[in-house]
């Protein structure tokens, strides 16, 4: 064989497996404009549907007149709740165990809510039809404040029995959804009452939106002859969508094919089921033609799946020396008009109970109250695992406030409270088993890399210069050490609508030694076709370039729960490795037969099986693949395929240390990010280049959230930030340079030790930016100011502290 002379290192490199910065195979089509997104799908006779949306945030609907709209040329149908009711489709279940109107049934609960669905020959005719639908509204009092919602007599959800339990237990008020608790209430309160030092703060994580570049949309096509429904759409969880569509429509699951084509970013926005999907399906059934629905930017920002809106009241206690003794948190969670969070069923507040963070906190208590308001529903995990950015922001702010209370350096306070390397697996006070970590090593590496001690000296000098009138710019050093919890998850704990959160991979090796792998996940830009092929290349010894990865078509891919919460690598990546190992096990038997030795006498070596002690005797995986199909081997059936459904034994716990150095102009409120250092430990690194890209993207979204992005409402419930004029999306202009770094602490339970990284930078980035702003003003007495830290709000901090006089 011609590769006889190649060393095993050379052979390993040519596989482009784990650890290779292999270029993204997706980019050839994306960079040439040849991607295939849902709006690129054009079917014969396809119609276009769009919504009449309410301009009122809370109103009763007295009448809907559609006659004039039906006269508009090109308009074929106008659907209202009255049309959907006989089918039982005017309401639909949400992923959080609540139900949600598909089209307004008697009243509307938030601005932009869907009232009627106009179906027309094209998008323009649909828009004209929308203008002609006359809806008579009777205004009702608008509640946009969750605290007021729990006091008011105004009942938002008249469809719910006032005193009846919700999906997650008793409700205290008609506008209350659930109370969820973790930890020990009494013990924690006793510890805090008796503590030497206590810091208390209300930390608000404002309402934001994932705002993917591609908005949500679908094309529904009902083939009435064969009874088959095909639904193309921007689904982060295509298989779950198929099951949900089947359950609510009554169409048997084998007659539904859901396809997620290329997706232009999801970030949690595309997990849920939306009225647009249901209406498109119904419209296709009614008209017998394919129906497309695509959100515009305002629809997207106003109605589909916001994130955060958590009011987190916290108390943290410590000894005088700074050893933390207890943490208490009460969160008021604004869920909007319907509870449509996408959290595992048993976790209505997601994994908010990871809020003890990276610290060894012996006692803790968390309670979360979910509340209805006249705002859009959602509360999704925007580039994070379920409510994990909320938790990380909360604890990283509480640490800073405690440092002020203790008059201590915040880096040192973190260091003395980190969970120690030898404490892993670590059981947290709020019920998690952290799999692995080495926080001190990461922290010291980060502090050294930025020259922390010198930065503090420079900051002190700057402060003197400021006081002496030599400068108007302050220096802030933002610290953040985060621990994520990703990879939901063990089926025993985690399901959505009863669907267990395993994932899957199916591999078929072709006779010539190439392969196709299909997974239950779906890439939205993460580069799955690149990285999953690398996992497999290392497992089965075929080059990554010879492996096609396919996802998103429920007719061909194995069932899986999709891509969100950084679960693809921890769950589907594990399934891929396990399926690869099944292939390898069969290949071993074939190799032994071909080499005429016992199964146990051959061993795997990069891309081949060699006879133990006689490395010149070997069969490559390529040769084995051919033999698997074409040689009669006694006791072994032909073919080389495997499938694995992986139910992880635990979540994974990626972590990292981020430091942001920021200059703040006290007169203009403008910031300049001088340095941003991001150290990530995501366990085994599959593709360092993709990790770096993930970190850059995630930190940029964190920058947006911390420094300007928000979904703001006025007192009438108008969304004030419904366009990209008002909703901050950073461009290259606002984005600083990032320095990335890493340590490697593999997950002990994941087959290849990988933990997932896509969301860490958002989780760790937000507190780093926010803490930098706070740190700059700490010498002037600032304890806490709510995000986003846009120019006006920073100016206002300076003004309130008297720095303008």
């Amino acid at each position: 064989m011609k590769d006889d002379v190649q060393s095993s290192d050379d052979r390993r490199a040519s596989l482009k497996g784990l650890g290779s910065s292999r270029k993204r195979v997706e980019d050839a089509r994306f960079t040439q404009g040849k991607g295939n997104y849902v709006d690129d799908i054009k079917l014969d006779g396809m119609l276009f549907g769009d919504f009449v949306r309410t301009p009122y945030a809370h109103a009763r609907i007295k009448s809907i007149k559609t006659e004039e709209a039906l006269k508009v040329p090109g308009v074929l149908a106008v659907l209202t709740a009255a049309d959907l009711e006989p089918l039982g489709l005017h309401w639909m279940p949400t992923l959080a165990g609540d139900k949600q109107m598909v089209l307004a049934d008697g009243k509307v609960l938030y601005q932009g809510q869907e009232v009627a669905f106009v179906v027309a020959t094209d998008r323009y005719a649909a828009a004209d039809g929308i203008e002609a639908v006359e809806v008579d509204y009777e205004e009702l009092p608008v509640i946009t404040d969750p605290f007021e919602a729990l006091k008011t007599d105004v009942v938002l959800r008249e469809d719910l029995e006032p005193g009846a339990d919700g999906a997650h237990g008793p409700r205290k008020h008609p506008n209350h959804i659930f109370t969820w608790e973790a930890g020990e209430k009494e013990t924690t309160e006793q510890v805090i009452d008796a503590a030497e030092v206590v810091a208390e703060e209300m930390v608000y994580y404002h309402r934001v939106h994932p705002c993917p570049l591609e908005t949500c949309g679908c094309v529904a096509s009902m083939d009435k002859v064969n009874g088959k429904l095909t639904l193309y759409g921007t689904f982060q969880a295509p298989h779950a969508i198929r099951t949900v569509v089947s359950l609510i429509s009554g169409i048997e699951e084998h007659n539904i094919r859901v396809v997620s084509p290329d997706i232009g970013g999801g970030f949690g926005n595309k997990v849920g089921a939306y009225p647009g999907y249901v209406c498109s399906v119904v419209a296709s059934i009614v008209t017998g033609k394919p129906v497309k629905w695509i959100e515009d930017r305002m629809d997207n920002l106003m109605t589909t799946a916001f994130a955060r809106d958590y009011w987190m009241k916290g108390k943290i206690s410590a000894t005088k020396e700074g050893k933390i003794t207890g943490l208490w948190c009460h969160t008021t969670a604004d869920h909007g008009g319907f509870d449509a969070c996408a959290d595992p069923t048993k976790f209505p507040a997601g994994f908010m109970n990871i809020c003890t963070g990276s610290y060894d906190i012996p006692t803790a208590y968390l309670a979360v109250d979910g509340v209805y308001t006249n705002k859009a529903p959602g509360g999704v995990a925007y580039r994070c695992s379920f409510r994990v950015t909320e938790a990380a922001y909360f604890i990283e702010r509480m640490i800073e406030v405690l440092a002020i209370e203790l008059n201590m350096d915040a880096a040192e306070l973190r260091r003395i409270n980190f969970i120690k390397k030898e404490q892993f697996p670590y059981n947290s006070a709020l019920g998690w088993e952290y799999d692995s970590g080495d926080y001190h090593t990461a922290w010291d590496k980060a502090l050294n890399a930025v020259g922390y001690d010198d930065l503090r000296k420079e900051q002190a000098q700057r402060l003197e210069d400021f006081k002496a009138g030599k400068t108007r710019k302050l220096l802030g050093i933002g610290l953040s050490h985060f621990t994520e919890i990703v990879g939901a998850g063990p089926v025993k704990n985690c399901d959505i609508l009863g669907l267990g959160m395993f994932d899957s991979c199916e591999i078929r090796i072709h006779p010539t030694g190439s392969a196709i792998a299909r997974l239950g996940t779906i890439s939205q830009g993460q580069g799955h076709a690149t990285t999953f092929a690398q996992i497999l290349a290392s497992e089965i010894g075929l080059p990554a370039d010879s492996i096609t990865v396919e996802e998103g078509d429920t007719d061909t891919a194995p069932y899986g729960l999709g891509t969100y919460g950084s679960r693809s690598t921890p769950v589907a990546g594990a399934a891929t490795a396990m399926a690869g190992r099944k292939i390898r096990a069969k290949a071993q038997m074939i190799a032994a037969f071909l080499l005429e030795v016992h199964d146990d006498d051959v061993e795997f070596d990069v891309d081949r099986f060699v006879v133990k002690g006689a490395p010149e005797k070997f069969k490559t995986m390529k040769e084995i693949a051919f033999a698997a199909y074409n040689q009669a081997i006694p006791g072994i059936e032909p073919g080389l395929e495997a499938v694995s459904y992986y139910d992880p034994p635990n979540m994974t716990y990626p972590f990292g240390a981020y430091i942001c150095v920021m200059e703040l102009d006290v007169d203009t409120g403008e910031h300049e990010i001088r340095q941003f250092y991001a150290l990530d430990d995501c366990g085994t690194r599959i593709n360092p280049m993709i990790i770096e890209g993930q970190v850059h993207g995630g930190v940029t979204e964190a920058l947006a959230i911390a420094m300007g992005q928000e979904i703001a409402y006025d007192e009438l419930g108008n969304v004030k930030t419904g366009t990209l004029m008002d909703f901050f999306l950073p461009t290259a202009w606002e984005t600083p340079h990032y320095t990335t770094d890493h340590t490697v602490t593999p997950s002990p339970h994941h087959p290849i030790g990988a933990k997932g990284v896509g969301e860490s930078p958002n989780v760790g980035g937000v507190p780093a930016f926010s803490n930098a702003v706070h740190d700059a003003f700490r010498p002037f007495g600032l304890r806490h100011a709510h995000m986003p830290h846009d120019h006006w709000r920073v100016w206002k901090i300076a003004n309130d502290l008297g720095l303008h006089s």
Partner: protein
């Protein structure tokens, strides 16, 4: 949103007051007004085509007049809806003061807006409202004093 201004109109106070209550004159002066009908002495119905930034809509609305302060003052309140484009409600207090042959008109207006108008228009709504009010009083001044118009 709040607006206030002061305009000098080249006509005596009683004439100005009467004109402000004359639907025909108002219809000529309100920018984009397509219909204005008097339902009673104190109630008007209007249809007005409006454009605020990218939002263009035909508003239908009702206006209620309070003439108890005649001839020195009057108030109006109203609400209108432009369908998908949004809705508005508000009011204005107008006072008239004689200044020789002329009249000084002062107004204070308040409005609440909702829907797309409020969202897209947030940074345009005040300037657009000022522009529309300016146009109204321009038109009104011309109607009251046709010679000065040229």
């Amino acid at each position: 949103m709040e607006l206030s201004d002061e305009i000098i109109i080249n006509a005596p106070k009683d004439k100005v007051y009467a004109a402000l209550n004359d639907p025909e004159i108002l219809k000529q002066c309100i920018p984009g007004c397509e219909e204005l009908t008097k339902v009673s002495d104190t109630q008007l119905e209007a249809k007005v085509a409006l454009k605020v930034g990218p939002v263009k809509a035909r508003f239908g609305g009702e206006v209620e007049l309070d003439t108890t302060g005649a001839p020195d003052a009057f108030s109006l309140t109203g609400q209108g809806s432009g369908g998908a484009a949004g809705h508005a409600k508000g009011g204005a207090d107008v006072t008239l003061e004689a200044d020789g042959d002329k009249t000084i008109l002062r107004y204070e207006a308040k409005a609440q807006i909702g829907g797309k108008l409020a969202q897209l228009g947030s940074r345009l709504i005040v300037s657009t409202s000022k522009k529309l009010a300016g146009k109204f009083f321009d038109n009104f001044a011309k109607v009251m004093d046709p010679e000065a118009a040229d």
